[in-house]
């Protein structure tokens, strides 16, 4: 699904990534680790198509509509409710029976009771849960997750653990994290950025 060879990314004079090579097969689970500023987020943005490499080859065979991307921001409108946000994404991603699907996700992630509240009133953890609902809404084949546990409480962490385990066989993953031990059991490959 992803094939990277000699990938390099520069912003002006600053080189963020150099000589990155990895493969993510259909059932792959790549864990990306590294200190702050090592280029984890940049690498994920390259994989999802939000940035292009300065040099090297990065081939992603999954169409963008089949990719689920969780970034640092939840990518939801704060003035819209959870239902309105997910409904908008459901329309854009052409999710069949989106009302049922988004209801099921909101319930699973414990946001059902707050579904008609504006996202701007959500706590950091609730926003992360909503972002996860957005990412999973269209049942992506490739999940690219940047610090997915960020902001989650114990219950949210367990929910995400369960979700990742359930989807482990059905999708490929690229996950950047500071807590690799938490997903070690799922990993098929590791990439440590310096």
């Amino acid at each position: 699904m992803i094939r990277a060879r000699g990938v390099e990314k520069r912003y002006g004079d600053k080189r963020v990534l150099r000589g990155i090579a990895f493969d993510v097969p259909r059932d792959g689970f790549l864990v990306v680790t590294g200190p702050n500023g090592s280029g984890k987020t940049t690498l994920l943005r390259l994989c999802v198509g939000l940035a292009v490499p300065t040099a090297g080859a990065l081939e992603v065979t999954v169409p963008r509509g089949r990719i689920g991307f969780l970034g640092h921001e939840p990518l939801v409108y704060r003035e819209l409710t959870a239902v309105e946000n997910l409904d908008l994404y459901g329309r854009l991603y052409r999710v069949a029976e989106r009302r049922e699907r988004l209801g099921m996700l909101l319930e699973r992630f414990g946001l059902w009771d707050a579904r008609h509240e504006r996202a701007g009133s959500y706590s950091r953890g609730m926003l992360q849960r909503l972002a996860l609902c957005r990412v999973l809404l269209h049942s992506p084949e490739l999940l690219i997750l940047d610090e997915p546990y960020s902001g989650l409480d114990d219950e949210g962490t367990e929910l995400l653990d369960r979700e990742l385990e359930e989807r482990r066989e059905a999708a490929a993953f690229v996950v950047a994290t500071h807590e690799p031990a938490r997903i070690e059991r799922l990993a098929s490959a590791r990439l440590a950025l310096a």
């Binding site: 999802v48 198509g49 939000l50 940035a51 292009v52 169409p63 963008r64 509509g65 990719i67 991307f69 970034g71 640092h72 921001e73 939840p74 990518l75 939801v76 409108y77 704060r78 003035e79 819209l80 309105e84 908008l88 994404y89 329309r91 854009l92 991603y93 052409r94 504006r118 957005r134």
Partner: protein, 212 residues
């Protein structure tokens, strides 16, 4: 049909956001009204209708600029533009949806501005209304693209007028011409041509503005 459904969903979202946040339209209304009031006191009592019409176009242009500065504010502040760009829909639908919402805001601002203009300065004729309507299309088309370009920059408030005002000169030429000359049809045609040409250019180039 799917494309139009995407455009509709995106435009509806923008209108809903404005209905909730109310941070663009009230500012536009207040600005255009206060500009016309200020001009009313600035212009000498015996000033010509030509001068007043010129000032109307200045007010419309800067009101539009005010709205355009806020056009991508929600997407910028909350990073949502990434989410929209990653969706499988055609990226030009983002431009068209946003342009439609800007068109609505402009139309509403002018629903207030034109009667106020008629009250302070004199009659508003059909050619002026036609000129304003066509100018709105051009402003929305070009302004949305430039607002998306400027939003990626830290100096966006400075950059947008620098980019937009030179490209808006033909709109002003066409609009003023349609409002004050003896042959307004020629200028209406010019505005229509400008709108069609720039709408196609902006529609086709939006994808390259929102992706690296």
């Amino acid at each position: 049909m799917t494309y139009l459904a995407d455009v509709g969903a995106l435009a509806r979202k923008d209108l809903l956001l404005e209905l909730r946040a109310r941070d663009t339209l009230p500012a536009m209304l207040l600005f255009v009204l206060s500009t016309l009031v200020v001009f009313h006191f600035v212009l000498p009592g015996d000033s010509s209708e030509l001068a007043a019409t010129g000032l109307l176009w200045v007010a419309i242009l800067f009101t539009a600029l005010l709205g355009l500065t806020r056009a991508f504010a929600a997407e910028r502040e909350q990073g949502v533009i990434d989410g929209l760009v990653l969706a499988p829909s055609d990226r030009s639908a983002i431009w068209l949806g946003k342009a439609l919402s800007i068109l609505v805001f402009l139309g509403l601002a002018e629903l207030v501005a034109l009667p106020a203009f008629a009250l302070f300065y004199g009659a508003v004729d059909a050619w002026l209304i036609a000129g304003v309507a066509l100018a709105n299309l051009g402003i929305a088309a070009v302004g949305t693209l430039l607002a998306a370009m400027a939003t990626a920059s830290r100096a966006r408030e400075l950059l947008l007028p620098l980019l937009f005002l030179p490209l808006a000169i033909p709109i002003v030429v066409g609009g003023v011409g349609a409002s004050v000359t003896a042959d307004p049809g020629r200028y209406i045609g010019f505005l229509g041509l400008y709108d069609a040409l720039f709408a196609i250019i902006c529609w086709a180039s939006f994808e390259y503005v929102v992706t690296e």
